[in-house]
């Protein structure tokens, strides 16, 4: 569905996600990370009601907690010792760092869920076909084969079961042997069928001209240019802030207090603008239909 943020040209969308991932990897300010995490969860909810996110939410929560818990018990850095665990100090700094790391990783993972909804394979193709034309085309062809091979192997397994070749029973070695037999049939059969595919490709003129064109064409509209500019501008600003040390939050060796001065305020404001871009695009469309 090309709606909301996904209705933009793929280039600004792609840059937004790449920019976001870079930012959450280098900036460890807890408020920034919290903002980023919330913005990505909200984006997912706005895009599909959080359905895709829910499918893997359990894994993300488990993974995040694992990271947050493992750091304080492994790292011994930091000054403020909270308590000792098996004679090892557990420090406040390590706890905070663990939480920051968790937020950073979760943001990347959740952003990737929404990325998959926005940058569909053909948009990816469009972005990279000029650079990696052969590879991109092969990737597209391979995608057709995933469900085909899955269905074929199920068919073979069913038939071979009637002949006593079953992968779900027997000793381990026997099962491996049977699995191999199914694989052999799958490969021979698929190669045989692939001849037809290649004939069909030749019949439709594949590789007779050097410059293949692409049907998928996305034009940069004025809105796309404006949003691209905003993304690049805010992103460059944030990078500058980072370079100047604004928005730097000291965790190790001693946890610095969280001060909200002018500079940090400005940094958080710019971050908020960057993070809110897709939300505003989504929200504007939702508003139009109220």
């Amino acid at each position: 569905m090309n709606r909301g943020f996904a209705s933009l040209h793929p280039a600004p969308c792609f840059l937004y996600y790449v920019g976001l991932v870079i930012l959450v990897m280098i900036i460890y300010h807890p408020l920034f990370l919290l903002l980023a995490l919330c913005s990505q969860i909200l984006l997912n909810i706005m895009q599909d009601g959080g359905r895709k996110l829910k499918e893997s939410a359990r894994f993300y929560i488990f993974f995040g907690l694992f990271i947050a818990l493992i750091n304080p018990f492994v790292s011994r850095r930091g000054q403020n010792v909270l308590f000792y665990f098996m004679d090892n100090p557990v420090t406040l700094e390590a706890v905070v760092y663990g939480i920051a790391m968790m937020m950073s990783l979760l943001t990347v993972l959740i952003a990737f869920v929404s990325y998959n909804m926005v940058i569909t394979p053909d948009k990816f193709m469009f972005l990279f076909s000029s650079i990696l034309s052969k590879t991109a085309f092969m990737a597209m062809m391979a995608m057709r084969f995933v469900p085909v091979l899955k269905r074929r192997s199920q068919e073979i397994a069913l038939v071979q079961k009637t002949r006593g070749t079953d992968i779900s029973s027997g000793t381990f070695i026997q099962r491996i042997k049977n699995g191999m037999q199914i694989l052999v049939i799958l490969i021979t059969w698929s190669l045989e069928e692939a001849i037809i595919t290649s004939r069909s490709m030749r019949a439709r003129g594949y590789s007779i001209t050097k410059n293949r064109s692409s049907y998928f064409d996305y034009k940069m509209t004025r809105r796309d240019w404006a949003i691209l500019f905003l993304i690049l501008f805010t992103w460059a600003n944030l990078l500058l802030f980072w370079y100047w040390g604004i928005g730097y939050f000291q965790i190790y060796p001693v946890l610095a207090p969280l001060v909200l001065d002018m500079n940090t305020g400005l940094f958080l404001a710019v971050s908020a603008i960057y993070l809110a871009i897709p939300l505003v695009v989504e929200g504007a469309e939702k508003l139009a239909w109220l």
């Binding site: 019949a203 439709r204 003129g205």
Partner: protein
């Protein structure tokens, strides 16, 4: 000037002593609809692929193929791709990419068309074929018929002058096949597209074709419009060739002693008028009344009670409280639309899939309680694709290794092996690779392998799909012999004509249940269009006649009665 002119064309595959094409001479005018037919292996596909340069097989070639007066090799690469389009037999494997829109654009992208042209052409084509709704669908979600329409649309986007099709409907169910042919007919009539198509089911093609070419062993045997070619073949008295003609034509020739070319009916409409006049209204006997109505009173060999099945928790029900009994010695054919769940039903019957509710009993025993090893020996299951059965390098290995596996489990396996090699005519093929066999031969080999375990019940999944009339005749004999030897057969099929002539009972699977089960004559004669061409032709006079044999029998009876009344 003819669009295609073939002069003295000869062709031989490398390392093959025989020529695959011998002295082919014919021409095709622009706008003609040409059908090439003949038994499989007669050179139809070879001939068609000679016209498409990109896929022409390697081999020794002599003679000339002229395209608009110029040798076909003089066309530029781009012209050759654009002007001559080709659709292949298998709907699935000629698709290259994963979504409909990508597939449509593929050919045009290859030739480097600009975006505006592509958008315009795709827009227009989608309107013609009604593809808008599936534009962004994955190709796996399409049915076989939709896939073939997609293949047709994607080659037409290059705006070809000549459309080649290699048995395009042989893998489709009858309804999808008719739809596809209608589409071709529209292209031919509305856009004057030249069509050359190979096919062995002529029933639906005769009304569309301008020219029919009949090939046998690499030669053009007969050529002409449907009426004249029917006339020639009928006069030749060659029974094998005659089995390729539509049943209306054969019926006409039987009923009318002296055939006239101009009179030969080529579709049901023409046939109805003519044949009804030929059948004397007086004293007709319904042919199937002759059949002994001995209802088998034995216990059913298969009993299915309230079987419910779906693939996943949230997927729709495929079978809904289905109940069915199969009696020993029965030859039951299960018919039903595409995706009605016929194959699933067969797999459940074989004990390969477990229904969510309901039970399947095989000879009074729950099929799932029979030990797997024993279950699959007693119930033979032959899947739609025989290739799934082959794991060895030669036919011989395939059979003997299977025999070895069954040693000790099945009595007299060695004698049985020899018997089946003979019975299925596999002797000359023993040294070949199973993948190199023709479709019908593969089917026979797989069937022999299944039958080696001496099953009492044989389940067949569309065994006649895509096979020619010659094979069907030999297949029919095989099945008859198996039934005589006491095997019960359940077959799932789309092939109405085959089922009507051979099954002992027919069942319709619709909406997840068996809605009717009856003898073929009762089953088909009540249907309006889901019945044989013979029945559609003669139903006014002989409502219960569904095959040519029925009509012949009825008329013999009639003649007998007439003779009797004359003698009185």
């Amino acid at each position: 000037m003819a669009l295609i002119d073939i002069q003295n064309l000869n062709f031989a595959y490398p390392n093959s002593p025989q020529r695959a094409l011998k002295n082919i001479n014919f021409s095709v005018e622009a706008g003609e609809f040409v059908v090439i037919c003949g038994p499989s292996g007669c050179g139809k596909t070879t001939l068609i692929s000679q016209l498409k340069r990109e896929i022409r097989p390697e081999g020794e070639i002599s003679g000339r193929i002229l395209y608009r007066g110029k040798p076909i090799d003089c066309l530029s690469k781009k012209e050759a791709v654009e002007e001559i389009a080709m659709v292949f037999q298998d709907p699935e494997n000629q698709i290259v990419l994963d979504t409909v829109i990508h597939e449509l654009a593929f050919g045009m992208e290859n030739l480097g068309y600009d975006i505006l042209t592509m958008k315009k052409r795709i827009g227009e084509m989608c309107n013609f074929f009604g593809l808008e709704k599936m534009l962004y669908k994955s190709v796996h979600e399409l049915s076989g018929g939709e896939k073939q329409i997609l293949n047709l649309a994607s080659v037409l986007l290059l705006q070809p002058k000549l459309l080649l099709l290699d048995e395009p409907t042989s893998q489709l169910d009858p309804i999808a096949a008719k739809e596809f042919l209608q589409m071709l007919y529209r292209l031919n009539r509305e856009l004057s597209m030249t069509v050359i198509m190979s096919e062995h089911r002529l029933e639906d093609l005769f009304p569309l074709a301008d020219k029919v070419i009949f090939m046998q062993e690499g030669e053009v045997k007969y050529i002409g419009d449907p009426k004249s070619i029917s006339f020639d073949i009928l006069r030749s008295k060659d029974v094998t060739l005659q089995s390729y003609l539509p049943s209306v034509v054969r019926m006409y020739s039987y009923l009318k002693g002296d055939i006239k070319e101009s009179e030969i009916p080529i579709d049901v409409r023409e046939g109805r008028k003519l044949i009804c006049d030929l059948i004397d209204e007086k004293q007709l006997m319904n042919p199937r009344d002759f059949q002994k109505g001995d209802k088998p009173t034995e216990k059913p060999i298969v009993k299915m009670t309230d079987v419910c099945f779906r693939y996943e928790k949230d997927s729709p029900d495929i079978l809904k409280k289905l109940s069915l009994n199969v009696c020993p010695g029965e030859f039951l054919a299960i018919l039903g639309g595409n995706g009605a769940g016929k194959s699933t039903l067969l797999q459940i019957m074989a004990g390969l899939k477990k229904p969510q509710r309901g039970k399947v009993y095989f000879k009074g025993q729950d099929v799932l309680c029979i030990k797997e090893e024993k279950r699959y020996l007693q119930i033979g299951y032959l899947a739609q694709n025989p290739m799934l059965y082959f794991i060895h390098e030669t036919v011989e290995d395939e059979l003997y290794k299977r025999g070895e596996m069954l040693k000790g489990k099945v009595e007299g396996i060695d004698e049985l092996l020899e018997e089946y090699i003979d019975f299925f005519g596999l002797g000359p093929l023993l040294k070949r690779h199973p993948y190199d066999l023709s479709g019908g031969e593969k089917q026979k080999l797989a069937m022999a392998m299944v039958l080696l375990s001496r099953p009492q019940l044989l389940l067949l999944d569309e065994p006649t799909k895509g096979l020619d009339p010659t094979f069907k005749i030999s297949f029919k004999d095989i099945l008859n012999k198996l039934i005589k030897s006491g095997i019960t057969i359940v077959m799932v099929s789309h092939d109405i004509e085959f089922v009507a002539a051979n099954a002992s009972s027919c069942a319709l699977l619709f909406n997840g249940e068996i809605t009717t089960k009856d003898t073929p004559s009762n089953f088909f004669s009540e249907n309006y269009f889901y019945t044989t061409a013979v029945n559609r032709t003669v139903r006014e006079k002989l409502p219960k006649a569904i095959t040519l044999e029925d009509v012949i029998k009825a008329c013999k009876w009639e003649k007998y009665l007439l003779a009797k009344s004359a003698s009185h």
